[in-house]
């Protein structure tokens, strides 16, 4: 090798593109019999070529990029520095450091579609994820994660449609309006959604209305525990029984972090359980941490209707080894295109692995303690807020988990105004429900989790008391 001359600086190759080295390009072009890189795109007609430079900013070095992005992101105010009471489908929970360590691992971050023999660890980690969720929800089959809870609910409803040969699904009016929008889009035109009334005093499902709407075309009754508004729906057995009497499938959506203390849905008749994994070890990520799961009993009728991949454990040809592979792969659209069950592609597998790490760390007692802590803290917050003159709870007699509806109608102020002033005090107030549930006037959905200390909750109550105090 020659010694390097002192003055020469090489600037040909982009750090991410090694073959931008001119000598290498020349060698490769010669090998394939071309004179210039411009000939590489001969397959594209001139009339379709851009033939000008794209109007984009010039390239940055790594250092410039870091400064640029850091400056942009510094404009954000975040839940690490602010007291945050926003939930409504994305929740700020404690994330154990080991969860971050594992989901940052280069091997998992950059793996994709490898085979069981080079990605044995990925297959095992996803099988374990399925198995850990199965214990939490008390079912024998769990899929590789879907995009999010809304997707999981959508697919559960379409599975029910295929199983029953029917076309309508019933959902409570208290469900997240955005989630209903996603489900409606996914189900149209194959399934039709109909909304069931809720009891205006308790927020629970109106059983009479449910009974009236069940008919011979009902494929599924979908409800949630805890619901979007935090309500613990304790009529699950009755709802499932009504669904089953009508020949429909009972589907329950759950926040899995409640299952250390709440009854798993199979205990009150659910045939399909679904929900979001984000609470189990994922940061909020501006909504980028969502991932859905679906669980059922181990029955062929149900298993064969999953569109997703399902990893199973098998022996290998050598005694003493665990192997893992795809169960009933021929169900999927990978194998059958439009004749497969719905469609499958990239989903949210890394969050599944992370949720598995979370449940392994927490164990049964961790999940039980956590559920109890969330209930204590959210009840404390609700009590403190309800004690403020003009402020009340929308469903004061109903048990809730983590989230609850605060009624500000008596304050004469709009939620938007209260939240604006809370922000000035370094607090993100609860989600404004006046758009999605206008019949309730000025109500907000507050979310309290294990991360909030008593002092945090007292600070919230004091700030609101000050904002709503009449002069």
């Amino acid at each position: 090798m020659e010694a390097y001359p002192l003055t020469r600086t090489r600037t040909f190759a982009h750090p991410y593109i090694p073959n931008t080295v001119p000598e290498v390009q020349a060698e490769m072009l010669k090998e394939i019999g071309l004179d210039s890189v411009d000939q590489l795109h001969d397959a594209i007609p001139e009339s379709l070529k851009l033939n000008r430079d794209m109007k984009l900013p010039p390239a940055m070095t790594e250092h410039e990029l870091r400064r640029h992005i850091d400056a942009l992101l510094a404009k954000n105010k975040h839940g690490g520095a602010y007291l945050n009471f926003l939930g409504a489908g994305c929740w700020q929970h404690f994330v154990p450091a080991v969860c971050d360590e594992i989901n940052q691992r280069s091997e998992f971050v950059t793996a994709y579609a490898g085979e069981p023999y080079e990605d044995h660890g990925r297959f095992q980690a996803l099988f374990e994820y399925q198995s850990l969720i199965a214990e939490l929800v008390d079912m024998d089959v769990v899929n590789v994660p879907t995009f999010d809870w809304a997707q999981a609910a959508s697919t559960a409803i379409r599975m029910a449609g295929r199983i029953t040969g029917r076309r309508t699904a019933l959902l409570p009016k208290s469900a997240d309006p955005d989630k209903i929008m996603i489900i409606r889009n996914y189900c149209t035109p194959v399934m039709e959604l109909r909304l069931v009334e809720i009891d205006s005093a308790t927020g629970r499902i109106d059983l009479d209305d449910l009974r009236a709407k069940l008919d011979a075309d009902t494929a599924a009754v979908y409800f949630e525990n805890p619901g979007y508004l935090g309500i613990i729906e304790d009529q699950g057995s009755a709802i499932s029984a009504l669904a089953h009497e009508a020949g429909a499938v009972s589907i329950v959506g759950v926040d899995p972090i409640s299952l250390g203390v709440l009854q798993p849905p199979g205990g009150y008749g659910a045939d399909i359980v679904c929900g979001d994994l984000q609470p189990l070890g994922m940061h909020m990520n501006y909504g980028g941490g969502q991932a859905g799961f679906i669980a059922t009993r181990d029955e062929e009728t149900y298993v064969m209707e999953y569109p997703s991949r399902l990893f199973g454990i098998v022996p290998t040809e050598v005694e003493g080894e665990y192997g893992f592979g795809d169960v009933a792969y021929e169900r999927t659209s990978f194998a059958l295109r439009e004749k497969g069950k719905e469609s499958v592609g990239t989903q949210t597998a890394l969050w599944g692995i992370t949720a598995g790490v979370y449940l392994s760390l927490m164990g049964p007692y961790g999940m039980q303690e956590l559920g109890g802590t969330i209930m204590q803290k959210s009840q404390y917050a609700a009590k403190k807020l309800a004690a403020i003159p003009g402020v009340g709870l929308r469903f004061p007699g109903t048990a809730f988990f983590k989230e609850f509806v605060v009624d500000f109608n008596g304050t004469g102020l709009k939620v938007a105004e209260i939240n604006r002033r809370l922000a000035e005090a370094g607090i993100f107030g609860g989600k404004d429900l006046s758009g999605g549930f206008p019949e309730w006037g000025q109500c907000a959905l507050y979310c309290v989790t294990e991360i909030h200390s008593k002092a945090d909750l007292d600070r919230l109550a004091e700030a609101i008391a000050k904002i709503v105090a009449k002069p």
């Binding site: 073959n19 404009k75 091997e107 998992f108 198995s131 809870w149 997707q151 203390v261 990239t346 204590q376």
Partner: protein, 519 residues
């Protein structure tokens, strides 16, 4: 000292083999992995045991049978599983055609891990997330320039979900014109990704699949016969999964438009086109980019990802919302307009991935992006040239007109030696390389699909080629060595007989414990 000889032709490799138990077998009653935050005594004193308010019918009666494991054991277990996983950071991952495996810049992975992103709640007030919204908007502007489209939504968290969103827009568009019931067919091609057909079927469409002509091009005459007043849309990848670019694409979109259909473009294979040609000029109404493919966000074992969805002006009002806009110097979230398909995913999509893509675009600039396309195509044609010299390998259809990937065939090798492409998949693992066959159905017999991208050096490509040559030689001289592979993997060949049998499949550990019998 003695010179150390390193002249072996293929890499000597052995995958990590930890013989790791399933996590439930690490259970030791009483151990703990982490202690979550608890309640202060004074708080507890005021509300009591919080679970006291759970209605009796809703109280969990038996704890979940999760394992109890100390933290170090959990960490060790998952680190071992990570070592038994061959991510693209660790191998010359040109064997996963159609997925554009490329270098994942480390700086981007560091940038997304700041609390200024990880701790953002998606429902925060716009004023508190100006930085994040600016990144969405800047990425939107870059995507518009790269594609020629007029607006982008980042809500879809994969290419499949973007295809679903586009099929939904096709339906909404025709419904808005009173033709929702009459236009019920979507046309696609057999060498487009299976999700194109599957997502259109999810939206209730009848699928018409075009097969290629003898050179491998989508057949224009067949398209002309397929269009009718029932045509709702046409969805196609170009280049298709064969790496063949259809130069007559503008005629295709013109034919579909003349019949009243909407043309939407699967740009999962866009890596060889950046700065060279665009969706707009080819006549498409909509397109998407996989940020986890073309724009160097990682694949993360299968997501979360992003399918950035772009539309031409007349289709803007159908986009799933909210989308980011700039008004009077402030970034705002615009909700769905009347006629929008609503939403396809919760909140705004996968923000981390949008940031990664933005960082990558800024790292390359316009010249760098064009270099990506050029070098990806150079690498592919170099690989193509060399693979065709390997005994038993071929590439069906036209010669000399491939872009970023090629679908090859081992038909001759299989006919002459009995070694199949599946056997080669397992044997490639022995050299620390990933190799993928292709999507079903296997229109190309004994297929394999390679996409080298711009990330790999000539030496990397040569290593991959040498491994394939080595296996071809083995197939002709000692086929059993290939058929019995893998030899250097974490595990040996699976006994797959139970995977399709409802009585035997075990999708969870608890199902395994119920179904597994003593021999």
């Amino acid at each position: 000292m003695k010179r150390i000889r390193r002249d072996h032709q293929v890499r000597r490799f052995h995958q990590a083999k930890w013989d790791e138990p399933v996590i439930f077998e690490l259970h030791r009653p009483g151990e703990r992995g982490v202690i979550p935050p608890g309640s202060e005594e004074s708080l507890a004193a005021e509300v009591g045991d919080g679970t006291g308010r759970i209605p009796d019918s809703m109280r969990r009666s038996e704890l979940p049978k999760l394992p109890e494991i100390g933290q170090a054991k959990v960490l060790r277990h998952y680190l071992r599983l990570s070592q038994e996983t061959l991510g693209s950071d660790l191998n010359v991952e040109i064997g996963q055609g159609t997925c554009t495996m490329k270098y994942i810049p480390r700086i981007n992975e560091m940038l997304i891990r700041t609390p200024h992103l990880t701790e953002l709640h998606p429902l925060q007030d716009e004023e508190s997330v100006q930085g994040m919204l600016e990144i969405f908007h800047r990425t939107d502007l870059a995507m518009r320039e790269i594609s020629g489209m007029d607006a982008f939504s980042f809500q879809s968290s994969s290419g499949t979900q973007a295809l679903l969103a586009m099929a939904s827009i096709v339906r909404a568009y025709h419904e808005s014109r009173g033709e929702g019931d009459t236009r019920d067919e979507i046309i696609t091609t057999i060498f487009s990704h299976p999700s194109q057909a599957a997502t259109a079927a999810v939206k209730g469409y009848k699928i018409i699949t075009l097969h290629p002509d003898e050179d491998g091009f989508p057949d224009l005459e067949k398209l002309k016969k397929a269009v009718s007043p029932r045509t709702a849309g046409f969805v196609v990848a170009n280049p298709e999964d064969t790496g063949i670019y259809n130069p007559r694409i503008r005629e295709f979109t013109d034919v579909v438009h003349a019949a009243g259909g909407v043309c939407y473009y699967d740009q999962a294979n866009a890596n060889g086109l950046l700065g060279i040609t665009r969706a707009k000029e080819a006549g498409f109404d909509m397109c998407f980019f996989n940020l986890h493919k073309t724009f160097a966000a990682p694949h993360m074992c299968g997501g979360p990802a992003t399918g950035a969805l772009g539309v031409a002006e007349p289709f803007k009002r159908f986009l799933p919302g909210p989308v980011v806009d700039l008004e009077n110097g402030r970034y705002v979230l615009k909700g769905q307009e009347d006629g929008s398909i609503g939403k396809v995913r919760s909140f705004h999509g996968v923000a981390q991935t949008v940031l990664r893509a933005y960082a990558w675009i800024m790292s390359l600039g316009p010249d760098g992006l064009r270099d990506v396309a050029r070098i990806a195509v150079l690498n592919n044609n170099y690989l193509y040239h060399k693979i065709l010299k390997i005994r038993g390998a071929s590439a069906p259809y036209i010669r000399g007109r491939r872009l970023e990937q090629v679908r090859y065939s081992w038909k001759q090798l299989t006919d002459e030696t009995g070694v199949t492409t599946e056997d080669i998949t397992r044997r490639m693992c022995d050299f620390g390389l990933h190799y993928w066959t292709s999507h079903h159905p296997y229109i190309v017999p004994q297929p394999f699909t390679l996409e080298p991208t711009e990330s790999y050096s000539k030496e990397d490509l040569d290593e991959y080629i040498r491994a394939l040559e080595h296996i071809s030689n083995e197939a002709y001289s000692n086929p059993e060595a290939v058929k019995t592979a893998p030899h250097n993997s974490t595990v040996h060949r699976n006994d797959e007989s139970s995977l399709d049998d409802p009585k035997q499949w075990c999708i969870t550990w608890r199902a395994y414990l119920k179904k597994a019998q003593e021999n």
